[in-house]
């Protein structure tokens, strides 16, 4: 170990000790002080009832499977639609001008409208036109609403990714005789997508939470099931269970997205 390394190791040890100590102080403060608050017994009974936690956990976990399912089939649809919109918005040929306008309007509308409203409108509105079962299912139209909203976001992210690929890459490709299409497909898009993966990961974490909004139009997924328990038991613990289940999924996902972001940043340096 040279002098510099020794110094850095000592520094690291010191900051580790400080971090552990301060964390311990804060944690001890929370654990010791919060129960001293006059309302704590009532809050604990309402939010942290161990018996209710254990009783409702299995059903809530099963309800969470519905969220996962909706998420799983939404993601590929969102990516495909988002890509199509991004390409439409970037169309260069004047004949495709209407497509460009349509893409811009699409993005403005669906990014501007709250997801819940889109879910209500599409989820009740379209089936209300008189579709027969099973085509009026809230699962179908709720998914459509999510796809509309999220593909608008993804399209914007993708478009910025496409624009961030330097013009010289496009020039190099067409100078080799590649068509516009192949240039986009083999040269521009792979680079653009790689650049926006971290941003889109965060989008997917947000989507994972917004899937629960489908409960507004009927499906009994985890948040709804928790609401049912809350109303039945007059206790908020089921929501805490739901939060724990959500966190178990979103925290690793968010960490992974951050990891990708950092890797990307380091790679560019």
């Amino acid at each position: 170990m040279n002098r510099r390394q020794a110094y850095e190791a000592a520094e690291r040890r010191r900051s580790l000790i400080v971090a552990v100590l301060s964390t311990a102080v804060v944690a001890a403060g929370l654990i010791l002080l919060v129960p001293l608050a006059p309302g704590w017994p009532a809050v604990r009974a309402s939010f942290f009832d161990g018996g209710i936690f254990v009783d409702t956990f299995p059903t809530l976990l099963r309800a969470f499977a519905i969220d996962v399912m909706i998420f799983a089939w939404s993601v590929p649809l969102i990516c495909a639609t988002g890509l199509a919109i991004a390409l439409a918005r970037g169309a260069r040929s004047p004949a495709l001008f209407p497509l460009r306008i349509a893409g811009a309007v699409y993005v403005d509308v669906f990014r501007g409208v709250p997801v819940v409203l889109t879910i209500y409108l599409i989820g009740f509105g379209v089936p209300g036109l008189g579709l027969p079962r099973p085509w009026n299912s809230p699962y179908i139209w709720g998914t459509v609403a999510l796809v509309l909203t999220y593909s608008a976001y993804i399209a914007e992210v993708l478009r910025s990714g496409i624009e961030s690929v330097h013009e010289s890459q496009r020039n190099a490709a067409i100078c080799l005789g590649l068509s516009e299409r192949d240039t986009m497909r083999y040269v521009i898009l792979p680079q653009a997508i790689r650049r926006v993966v971290p941003a889109n990961m965060n989008m997917l974490v947000a989507l994972q939470k917004d899937v629960a909004l489908l409960s507004f139009i009927g499906p009994v997924e985890i948040l709804r099931q928790a609401g049912i328990y809350k109303s039945l038991l007059a206790n908020f613990t089921p929501y805490v269970v739901a939060a724990v289940i959500f966190l178990a999924v979103t925290v690793p996902a968010t960490r992974y997205a951050d990891h990708l972001l950092n890797r990307d940043r380091n790679a560019r340096r």
Partner: protein, 268 residues
């Protein structure tokens, strides 16, 4: 004679009133005032036109009758609004009483206090243009059900009806009705007055197919007035409610505002 009687009656009311007022003294949020909460918005037939101050509608009428028995003038009744969640949250409340069709349940009773019931609502089935469905459990079982999440209707659907496909669950009446319009659900369970209102005023082609008798429903929905846990006012409220029930005033209000309850067949 008439004069004598009426002055006697006035005296009796005054005495009773002052006794109750003594009961409620120091127990309300604002001394001399009774603060009553209702939903936001409040619905027909519980409150007409979302205006509880008018005393029109079942709960509004009950509220004023109760206030009078407790010795408050109509002018001393203050209305406020809360959501369901606000009402059952732990902590201080900004109302003395909350009337918005709160079903009395054991679990809720642990967190808040309920008065004795002021209404026992039978459950009723709302369908849209239900000419081809008969009011028996077997055919109800084949339907796709929609239920509101915050009522006791859900356990009734799950246990008494036990439909072949899982019910869809919604936040409020409006959404259930919207799902019926969209053809996503065939039938929904509400307490009878709500079902009648929705059939008449909200859902085009809506029809109340039938109602469950109280003994067929595992625990019939009983509405109680919600108060903070351990509220000393509860004794006064229960006393006044008992008096209203004893002299038939409550039944009269029910007949006036919920009389449509007749004529809907029982489901067997």
């Amino acid at each position: 004679m008439w004069k004598y009687l009426s002055s006697q009656a006035i005296a009796a009311v005054l005495i009773a009133g002052s006794a109750a007022a003594q009961c409620a003294a120091d127990k309300t949020l604002t001394e001399g005032k009774l603060t009553i909460a209702t939903g936001n918005p409040a619905y027909y037939p519980w409150v007409i036109d979302d205006a509880p101050e008018s005393g029109q509608g079942f709960e509004a009428a009950v509220a004023y009758a109760l206030a009078e028995r407790m010795g408050f003038d109509a002018g001393d009744v203050i209305w406020t609004r809360t959501s369901f969640d606000q009402a059952i949250q732990p902590g201080a409340k900004d109302f003395d009483l909350n009337l918005q069709q709160f079903s009395i349940t054991e679990e809720r009773d642990k967190v808040v206090d309920f008065s004795t019931p002021y209404y026992t609502a039978p459950m009723a089935v709302l369908v849209r243009g239900g000419g081809d469905v008969s009011a028996d459990l077997d055919s109800l079982r084949q339907l796709r059900w929609g239920v509101m999440a915050t009522t006791t209707a859900l356990p009734v659907v799950m246990q008494t009806i036990a439909p072949a496909t899982g019910p869809l669950v919604y936040d409020d009446n409006v959404n259930v009705v919207e799902a019926m319009k969209a053809g996503q659900v065939d039938a929904a369970l509400f307490d009878l007055p709500t079902a009648l209102y929705l059939a008449a005023a909200v859902l085009e082609g809506g029809q109340v197919l039938g109602q469950f008798s109280a003994d067929q429903t595992e625990n019939p929905d009983r509405f109680g007035m919600l108060m903070t846990e351990g509220n000393p006012l509860k004794a006064c409220v229960d006393e006044a409610l008992a008096a209203l029930a004893a002299d038939g005033a409550l039944a009269e209000i029910e007949a006036t505002w919920l009389q449509e309850a007749t004529g809907v067949p029982l489901i067997k």
